[in-house]
């Protein structure tokens, strides 16, 4: 057998493997791994307006970022935000999935209705939320409704106290995201073997008991994935925050996601790639640590099966 024939493998298997997998591997390397590694490299350099820096600064950029009260503040804000939004989205999407799964009439319709917002652009949804639903004058939907009860108009997005802006952001986010996670749960629910439910019914289990002892344990894999995605999503929040809260040239110091802060100070027109990359790496590490911690906790719980 010649070398080239051996490299190609039996029935050219190796060749075909690379024909199919190669383009994706190349794409992944060029557009994901190289930028990540380059970003880590940049984070150790003084690199204003260049991606080929020469001045090595060690952990200087990391220390600067960790000493920057605004950045640390945004990290804390989003840790708190994650603690709130992850369980809320999780429970709400699971609840919708359970309801839709039980529906016997027009199930496809309800599935589509809840899933449809996922297809909507974050930017468009943000503008509708900002300009139509939660505009501060009487013509905005929310203030129009308040008018029925004789209440004054509230400038939802202008006030810092009380923080009504969270209401705007959280509702927009839930509307946009619930459907997607509902579909994931729905897929998980439909994979559960009906025999389990029949057996449980024969044993006299019903209602909450079925949910707790059959549905939820059977959804563990899905739940883990959903939690992880939600967590990453919470820390990487950008689009709806940026489009709802930013005003001309500035973003208020509250409810500012770490990525928005980095965009304004380093990675947008600032082009301070050293500090920006350091901030991004810090954020990645936090996500990694929290995700690993979460994975460990869920795995521990899974040992009984």
């Amino acid at each position: 057998m010649t070398l080239s024939a051996r490299l190609r493998g039996r029935q050219d298997r190796n060749l075909w493997f690379w024909v199919f997998v190669g383009p994706f591997v190349i794409g992944l390397v060029v557009f994901v791994y190289v930028p990540i590694i380059w970003s880590i490299y940049l984070s150790f350099f003084n690199s204003y307006n260049t991606v080929t820096p020469t001045e090595f600064v060690g952990f200087g950029n990391y220390l600067d970022m960790l000493r920057d009260p605004a950045f640390v503040d945004s990290l804390w804000t989003f840790a708190v935000f994650a603690v709130f939004i992850v369980p809320v989205t999780f429970v709400a999407s699971l609840a919708i999935a359970l309801l839709v799964a039980r529906t016997r009439v027009m199930q496809a319709f309800f599935r589509s209705v809840f899933f449809l917002p996922t297809a909507c652009s974050y930017v468009v949804a943000s503008l509708i939320w900002k300009m139509s639903i939660f505009s501060g004058v009487r013509s905005g939907l929310a203030n129009y409704v308040l008018g029925w009860f004789g209440l004054d108009s509230i400038p939802w997005l202008s006030l810092a106290q009380p923080p009504w802006y969270w209401l705007v952001i959280v509702t927009a986010r839930l509307w946009l995201q619930l459907g997607f996670y509902m579909i994931l749960f729905l897929a998980g629910i439909q994979r559960i073997n009906p025999n389990l439910y029949e057996a449980a019914a024969i044993d006299g289990a019903e209602g909450w008991k079925v949910l707790r002892h059959i549905t939820l344990p059977q959804l563990r894999a899905t739940s883990t994935a959903v939690l992880l995605l939600l967590l990453i999503n919470a820390f990487q929040a950008f689009d709806e925050f940026y489009n709802i809260l930013s005003t001309f040239g500035t973003y208020p110091p509250y409810a500012r996601p770490p990525l928005v802060y980095l965009y304004y100070t380093a990675l947008g027109s600032g082009q301070d790639f050293g500090h920006g990359s350091a901030g991004a790496v810090i954020l990645t590490l936090i996500i990694l640590i929290v995700a690993l911690g979460q994975g460990r906790i869920l795995r521990l719980g899974g040992r009984d099966d």
């Binding site: 930028p35 990540i36 970003s39 204003y48 307006n49 260049t50 991606v51 605004a70 974050y122 930017v123 943000s126 503008l127 300009m131 139509s132 939660f134 505009s135 501060g136 004058v137 009487r138 013509s139 905005g140 108009s153 509230i154 400038p155 939802w156 997005l157 202008s158 006030l159 810092a160 106290q161 990487q236 950008f238 689009d239 940026y242 489009n243 930013s246 005003t247 001309f248 040239g249 500035t250 973003y251 208020p252 110091p253 509250y254 990525l259 802060y261 980095l262 965009y263 304004y264 100070t265 380093a266 990675l267 947008g268 027109s269 600032g270 082009q271 301070d272 920006g276 991004a280 990645t284």
Partner: protein, 437 residues
């Protein structure tokens, strides 16, 4: 990592440009998805040999202007240039960010516009070339504060294209009805706003952030201060600055400010629809205001804090810059000079035929028909007399973020202005030390 996130195709909040960005935001929003990089391989002919037959090819970039006809206009100007083939690229979306990034590569433009000229880091990073020698005698004809904004260490780094400005606009009939004269000081302004506030109609509109994002500079100028001193030191570590910034909080507390308007300050609809009696907005809104209110409006500068202070209006201009990575630096400079210094007819056309802007050459202002009479003439005079560049060259994005944070806390949360200014100072001092080193 961060690059997987869309910065949102909108430019409702472009960082450094006060005015044209506002226009683009109003009308250019939905077109923000074009993907044309516009870059074609250049012929490689160097500027020096351009005279010998084959013309060099130059890439010129513009952000997407909102007014109809502007794209055709700049393409027409470029096509008329005899000494090079100029390819115009019209870039929708986040222009500042994508242009700044493209300067890192060989795929960037030769000639490009940038809000208020290149950033200090572009200049220090050697990404743009000096333009001083192109001006010659024409230098004194350009709007002083704008040219100053594009100058670093006595070298000019961009040619101002057209000027935009912000100013205070009020409805004459509403002031007459309330028996209010156009205010001359900030305290008079607050009084006027109180008298003009009536139920759902508010006295004053400084943007949906209550002026936190917009009025920082004008408040400093009204106290006779500035972001930086002339010798580039932090400029508002001063009790008068604390007083001035505190005035915005006073307006907020008095509930005379319109908040949460469907369209922000850069759009005239709040004034035109009667939601407010006075609005801080841009010159570019004048055609719409005229359409909505006829002659029922007047203009004025942002008033002085007191006798020691000064009236002011913010001015800004896109500056035409030449990339240092261009294959044809000389040809690119020659083209920039031709269009934005020599071709006064094109400059006038660009400033006045499609929207309301002010030519950056002072001698062209009397020739601009749109600026000859009425409110627009008043505005053009204010721009020349009390115009302040929106923020100084050395005021980096980091400084403006820190200042914006402080303004938000002062205005929306009632934080102590003095303590907030001290925080801005610590950030700005570090940044100044960095860029001046």
């Amino acid at each position: 990592m961060t690059d997987s996130k869309r910065p949102g195709g909108l430019d409702l909040d472009r960082r450094s440009v006060l005015t044209l960005g506002g226009l683009a935001a109003m009308t250019g929003v939905l077109a923000a998805c074009g993907g044309n990089t516009g870059r074609e391989p250049s012929t490689g002919a160097s500027g020096a040999s351009a005279g010998g037959g084959s013309k060099p090819t130059l890439q010129q970039w513009y952000h997407q202007y909102g007014e109809a006809g502007t794209q055709q206009a700049v393409e027409r100007y470029a096509a008329a240039y005899p000494n090079a083939t100029v390819k115009v690229t019209w870039k929708p979306g986040d222009y500042d960010q994508s242009t700044a990034a493209s300067l890192l590569t060989d795929a960037g433009p030769d000639v490009f516009e940038y809000g208020n000229g290149p950033t200090i880091d572009m200049i220090k990073g050697g990404q743009v070339v000096e333009m001083t020698d192109l001006f010659g005698d024409a230098k004194s004809d350009f709007n002083d504060s704008i040219l100053q904004r594009m100058t670093y260490q006595d070298k000019i780094w961009a040619i101002p294209q057209v000027i935009d400005m912000q100013l205070l606009v009020y409805r004459k009939s509403m002031l007459d009805k309330a028996g209010v004269q156009p205010p001359q000081t900030i305290d008079e302004l607050i009084d006027a706003a109180k008298k003009l506030t009536n139920g759902n109609v508010k006295g004053l509109f400084l943007g949906n952030a209550g002026g936190a994002d917009l009025m920082g500079g004008p408040m400093l100028w009204s106290a006779g201060l500035d972001y930086l001193t002339p010798d580039n030191k932090f400029g508002f570590d001063d009790p008068r600055a604390a007083t001035a910034l505190g005035k915005l909080r006073e307006m907020w507390d008095a509930k005379v400010l319109l908040l949460g308007a469907p369209k922000d300050w850069f759009d005239p609809s709040a004034l035109v629809n009667g939601l407010t009696a006075m609005q801080f907005t841009g010159l570019w809104t004048f055609p719409d205001i005229k359409k909505g209110l006829g002659d029922d409006f007047g203009v004025m500068a942002w008033p002085k804090l007191d006798a020691q202070g000064k009236d002011s209006v913010p001015v800004g201009a896109y500056g035409s810059c030449v990339s240092a990575k261009s294959n044809n630096v000389d040809a690119a400079k020659a083209f920039a000079k031709w269009l934005w210094i020599d071709q006064t007819k094109d400059q006038l056309d660009f400033a006045t035929s499609y929207g309301f802007h002010i030519p950056s050459r002072k001698s062209l202002i009397p020739q601009a028909d749109t600026l000859k009479s009425g409110q627009a003439a008043d505005a053009a005079r204010l721009a020349t007399e009390v115009g302040h560049a929106q923020s100084p060259l050395l005021w980096t994005p980091k400084c403006s973020t820190a200042f914006g944070d402080a303004m938000n806390r002062i205005v929306k949360e009632g934080a102590d202005p003095k303590a907030q200014i001290a925080q801005v100072k610590s950030v700005a001092d570090a940044e100044l030390k960095r860029v001046l080193s």
